[in-house]
C-alpha cells in the first residue's frame, strides 16, 4: 500500500492545485487543459507541437473509456497533471489516468426522473480551481467535489428544476468564484448567470438576463412576457483578466417561434454580455438577433483576440453566431466592428452599421410553415470554434442547412415546454457541413473542408499546424491548418457531439474526443 501511494505521489505531484493564476497563464503549461476552452480567451488552441502536420498520419488510439450512460456524451474533459476530469451524462464526473485510461474515482449523482431538458440529459464539462472540481447538474445544482477523492465538498441549488431549469454548461472558475449558467430556454424560464464562492458555495452575485419592470431593457418586453422570456446561459463564456470582464452568450427568447406575445427586442436574449467578474454588473451588451423568432441562441463561445480593423489594432471578440453571421466586436465597449455571413442565410439583407440585422420580409415562422436558412440548429451551435494566434485564423464548424419554421400557440405552464411552434427539415434537400478557416478581422473564408452532414462537433487547433474536428458519422479527423486538407482520420463508431482537447501524458502529446458513448485518446505511438 505504501508503495502504491508513493508511486501515485510521484506521478501526480501537483494534482488538484489549480490556482487562478495557473488558469490565467494556461498557455505557459500546455501539457494541461485547465478550463473549458483551454484558456480564458476561448481559443481552444493547444500550444503543443509534438503532433504535427508532418506526423499526424501516425496518430493511433491510446485508450478508450466507455461511459455507461444512456444519454449523449458532449463533454470537454479537463486535464491536470496527468489526470483527466470528464463529466458523464446525466450529471456524473470521473477522474481517470491519462496514461492508462483507467478510472481513479467517479462521482455519481442520483438525479430525479422528471428533470426538464429539452434536448437530452447532457453535460458539457467541469471547472477546476485549487483542489476542487465543479459540475452543474440536470436538476440545476452546482456541486463542488474534492479533486482527489470525488467526495462532495458542497452542493447548492442554483434554480428549481421543476420550473424548467437545468444545468448542462461547464462552469467557469474565475479568481475565487465559480460562474455558472442555466439551460431551460424551451421551458419559459427567466435566464440568469450566477457566481458562487468557490470555497463555500455561497452565491456572490446573480445577473438576471431579463430585466424586471423598471430596469433598463425592460421596455423591450410586452407586459408580463419578461417572466417567461428564457435568455438562458448554457455555454461557457470567456474571461479577460485585464478588464476583469466575463463575456457570456445568452439564448433565445421564449417562446421560441411565436414572438407575438413578447413584442420588442427582448433584451438580453441572443446577446453577448460583458459582466464585471466581481459584481456581475453589466458593462455592455451586444444583441445579435433582436426579437428572435427562430431559436437562434447566441451561446457560442466568445473568442478574445486582437485584430487590425480599418488600420487600427484592436482588442476584439470574434463571434460566429447561430443566426448565420460572423461578428467582430470591440472588446472594451461591445461596438460592432465588422460582420458577414458565415453560411447561407435568407432572413436578413445584411447587417447595418451597428451590426443590427436588416430583416427581409416574410421570414417569420407561420402556420403553414416558412422556409428559412439557417436551420433551427443554426449556422453553428454550442460546439466550439478555435483561434490559432500563430496562423491568425479562426476555425469554425459550420452547418449549411435550412428549416421550415412553424408558428403555434403555447400557453405557459411552469415546467412544461414553451415553444409555440415547431420546425422540420426542407424536403428533398440534403444539408451539409464544413470546417472553415476564416480571417478573423473580416470573416473571409481562407479555406473550407466539406463535411457530409451539418456537424455537432467543435474544433481544436494546435501549434503543430493541425485542426481536429468530428462528424455525425463518427469520423474524428485532422486537417492541415493552412490548407484544410485531411491529414488523418479515424472512424470512432459513434456520433461526435463534443469538442477535442490536447494535453501531455507522461510527456507525450495526446488528443482526446468524446464520440458515441466513449472518450478516446490518441497519441503518436
Amino acid at each position: 500500500m505504501k508503495r502504491i501511494v508513493f508511486i501515485l505521489l510521484a506521478a501526480w505531484p501537483l494534482a488538484g492545485q489549480v490556482s487562478f493564476e495557473r488558469i490565467v497563464r494556461a498557455e505557459s503549461e500546455p501539457g494541461n487543459w485547465l478550463t473549458y476552452s483551454g484558456n480564458y480567451s476561448g481559443h481552444r488552441h493547444s500550444p503543443l507541437d509534438q503532433i504535427q502536420a508532418g506526423n499526424v498520419a501516425r496518430l493511433k488510439p491510446v485508450w478508450m473509456y466507455q461511459v455507461n450512460a444512456l444519454h449523449k456524451l458532449e463533454t470537454t474533459p479537463l486535464v491536470v497533471d496527468g489526470i483527466m476530469y470528464l463529466t458523464e451524462p446525466p450529471s456524473n464526473l470521473t477522474a481517470l489516468d491519462t496514461r492508462t485510461g483507467r478510472k481513479l474515482w467517479i462521482y455519481r449523482r442520483s438525479t430525479p426522473k422528471d428533470v426538464r431538458v429539452c434536448c437530452g440529459q447532457v453535460n458539457r464539462g467541469a471547472a477546476i480551481l485549487d483542489d476542487l472540481v465543479f459540475l452543474g447538474t440536470v436538476d440545476a445544482h452546482l456541486v463542488a467535489l474534492d479533486a482527489r477523492t470525488g467526495l462532495v465538498r458542497w452542493d447548492v441549488k442554483v434554480a428549481d428544476y421543476k420550473t424548467g431549469y437545468s444545468i448542462t454548461v461547464a462552469p467557469l472558475a474565475v479568481r475565487d468564484k465559480i460562474i455558472v449558467g442555466v439551460a431551460g430556454g424551451e421551458y419559459g424560464v427567466r435566464g440568469l448567470l450566477d457566481a458562487y464562492d468557490a470555497r463555500t458555495g455561497k452565491r456572490v452575485w446573480r445577473f438576471w438576463t431579463i430585466p424586471s419592470p423598471g430596469e433598463k431593457g425592460s421596455e423591450t418586453w410586452d407586459s408580463e412576457s419578461w417572466k417567461t422570456g428564457s435568455a438562458t446561459t448554457w455555454v461557457t463564456g470567456s474571461f479577460d483578466p485585464e478588464t476583469n470582464l466575463v463575456y457570456w452568450g445568452t439564448g433565445n427568447p421564449g417562446p421560441d417561434w411565436n414572438g407575438d406575445v413578447r413584442r420588442g427586442d427582448n433584451l438580453y436574449s441572443d446577446c453577448l454580455l460583458a459582466l464585471d467578474a466581481d459584481t456581475g454588473k453589466l458593462k455592455w451588451h451586444f444583441q445579435f438577433t433582436p426579437h428572435d423568432v427562430h431559436d437562434w441562441d447566441s451561446v457560442q463561445v466568445p473568442v478574445l483576440a486582437e485584430a487590425t480593423i480599418r488600420g487600427e489594432r484592436k482588442k476584439v471578440v470574434l463571434f460566429a453566431n447561430r443566426n448565420g453571421f460572423y461578428y467582430v466586436l470591440d472588446r472594451s465597449n461591445g461596438h460592432f466592428l465588422s460582420g458577414r455571413p458565415l453560411a447561407r442565410q435568407t432572413w436578413a439583407k445584411g447587417l447595418d452599421d451597428n451590426g443590427r440585422p436588416v430583416l427581409l420580409p416574410g421570414m417569420d415562422p407561420s402556420t403553414e410553415g416558412t422556409k428559412v436558412y439557417p436551420s433551427v440548429a443554426g449556422a453553428t451551435n454550442w460546439f466550439s470554434p478555435s483561434y490559432n494566434p500563430k496562423t491568425n485564423l479562426f476555425y469554425v464548424a459550420v452547418r449549411e442547412e435550412g428549416s421550415v419554421y412553424y408558428k403555434g400557440d403555447a400557453d405557459y405552464k411552469a415546467g412544461s415546454l414553451f415553444n409555440a411552434g415547431g420546425f422540420k427539415g426542407i424536403p428533398g434537400e440534403e444539408p451539409y457541413g464544413a470546417i472553415r478557416a476564416l480571417e478573423p478581422a473580416t470573416g473571409a473564408v481562407r479555406w473550407e473542408f466539406r463535411l457530409f452532414s451539418p456537424p455537432w462537433a467543435g474544433v481544436l487547433s494546435t501549434a503543430g499546424g493541425v485542426v481536429f474536428g468530428g462528424t455525425n458519422e463518427g469520423n474524428f479527423l485532422a486537417l492541415d491548418a493552412s490548407t484544410g486538407k485531411t491529414l488523418w482520420r479515424f472512424q470512432t463508431g459513434g456520433q461526435v457531439i463534443s469538442n477535442p482537447i490536447s494535453y501531455l501524458s507522461d510527456g507525450k502529446q495526446q488528443v482526446a474526443i468524446a464520440a458515441g458513448n466513449a472518450v478516446l485518446a490518441f497519441g503518436l505511438e
Binding site: 444512456l70 444519454h71 449523449k72 449523482r109 442520483s110 438525479t111 430525479p112 426522473k113 422528471d114 426538464r116 431538458v117 429539452c118 434536448c119 437530452g120 436538476d139 445544482h141 467526495l151 462532495v152 458542497w154 452542493d155 421543476k162 424551451e186 421560441d256 410553415g369 412553424y406 403555434g408 400557440d409 403555447a410 405552464k413 415546467g415 412544461s416 415546454l417 415553444n419 409555440a420 411552434g421 415547431g422 420546425f423 422540420k424 427539415g425 428533398g428 440534403e430 466539406r450 463535411l451 457530409f452 462528424t471 458519422e473 463518427g474 469520423n475 479527423l477 485531411t486 482520420r489 472512424q491
Partner: protein, 261 residues
C-alpha cells in the same frame, strides 16, 4: 457529507413523486373523439413537434407518420411512451400532462400514419396476378418473404399509401422518390463504373447496393466521379403497359397489402 445525504434523499423523493411508470394504464384509449384528436394535435404541435416534426414525419425524433409504431403497437404502449419517455433515448416523459391529455396526444399520433382502406373498383386477385406476371414487380419489390431488394418492400404499403398515390407511382415512378433512396453513380480511378442505391455515407466513404444486388464500400478519395440523385428511379413507367382496368386491379391489390397474413 450530511448535506450530501440530505440532497440525495430529496432527489430520490422528488423522483418517486414524479415517477408514474408503476401506475396502471387502461388497455384502450377512452379519448378518441374528433375533439380529443384536435386537442391532441394542439399539444402535439407544442410539445412533440419540435423533435417529431409538425406532421410527425420525424427529425430529431422518430418518424411517427408510419403505419405501425414499432415501440407502440397498442394504445397502452403508446400511452406509456408518451407518459414515461423511452429510457436510453432522447424521448422524455411528459411529466406535466395529465392522463386525459396523454390519451388525446396518443389519439392524434395514431392518425398520423393511418389511412383508411379506400373503396376501389379493381379486383385484388387479378391485381396480384398482374403484379407477379405482366408487371414483374417482384423483381425489385418484396411482399412478405418473396421478391427483390432494389425497391421498397411493399408488404404493408396499403397502410401508408393511398390508392391515388399508388396509381400515380405506377404511371410516373419518378414523381415522388421515397425518402432515403439516393441513386449513386461512381467511377473509380481505374475507370470502373458502378451504380446503385446508397446504403450509408460519411465524409470519407460511401456504401452502395448496386443494381445486381452486390454490396460495395468505397473510399471517396479512390473515386474520380461520384454523383447522387434523389430524383432517379430505375422503376419503369407502366403508363400504356397496363390498361385502365388492369391498373385498377393492381392498385386494389397493393391497397390490400396491410401486413396481415
Amino acid at each position: 457529507m450530511v448535506r450530501f445525504m440530505a440532497v440525495f434523499a430529496a432527489c430520490v423523493l422528488a423522483g418517486a413523486a414524479q415517477d408514474r411508470s408503476d401506475e396502471p394504464v387502461l388497455e384502450r384509449n377512452p379519448f378518441t373523439s374528433a375533439a380529443d384528436r384536435a386537442r391532441g394535435k394542439q399539444i402535439f404541435l407544442a410539445q412533440c413537434a419540435p423533435c417529431h416534426g409538425p406532421d410527425g414525419n420525424g427529425g430529431r425524433g422518430a418518424n411517427l407518420a408510419r403505419p405501425r409504431l414499432p415501440r407502440a403497437s397498442t394504445d397502452s404502449a403508446l400511452f406509456r411512451i408518451i407518459r414515461d419517455g423511452i429510457p436510453g433515448t432522447e424521448m422524455p416523459g411528459a411529466w406535466v400532462l395529465i392522463d386525459r391529455e396523454i390519451w388525446q396526444v396518443a389519439a392524434y399520433v395514431q392518425t398520423l400514419g393511418q389511412r383508411a382502406a379506400e373503396r376501389i373498383s379493381g379486383n385484388a386477385r387479378r391485381g396480384e396476378d398482374l403484379f407477379r406476371t405482366k408487371g414483374k414487380c417482384l423483381t425489385c419489390h418484396t411482399v412478405r418473404f418473396t421478391g427483390g431488394r432494389m425497391g421498397p418492400a411493399l408488404t404493408e404499403v396499403g397502410r401508408s399509401r393511398s390508392a391515388a398515390f399508388l396509381r400515380r407511382k405506377l404511371l410516373r415512378p419518378d414523381a415522388e422518390i421515397p425518402e432515403g433512396y439516393i441513386f449513386v453513380e461512381a467511377v473509380t480511378r481505374d475507370g470502373s463504373r458502378l451504380s446503385g442505391f446508397r446504403l450509408n455515407e460519411d465524409t470519407y466513404s460511401i456504401q452502395v447496393r448496386d443494381l445486381s444486388d452486390r454490396l460495395h464500400s468505397l473510399w471517396k478519395d479512390e473515386l474520380s466521379e461520384l454523383r447522387r440523385s434523389s430524383a432517379y428511379t430505375p422503376m419503369p413507367s407502366f403508363d400504356g403497359v397496363f390498361t385502365a382496368a388492369e391498373l385498377d386491379d393492381l392498385v386494389a391489390y397493393l391497397i390490400s397489402l396491410r401486413g396481415e397474413s
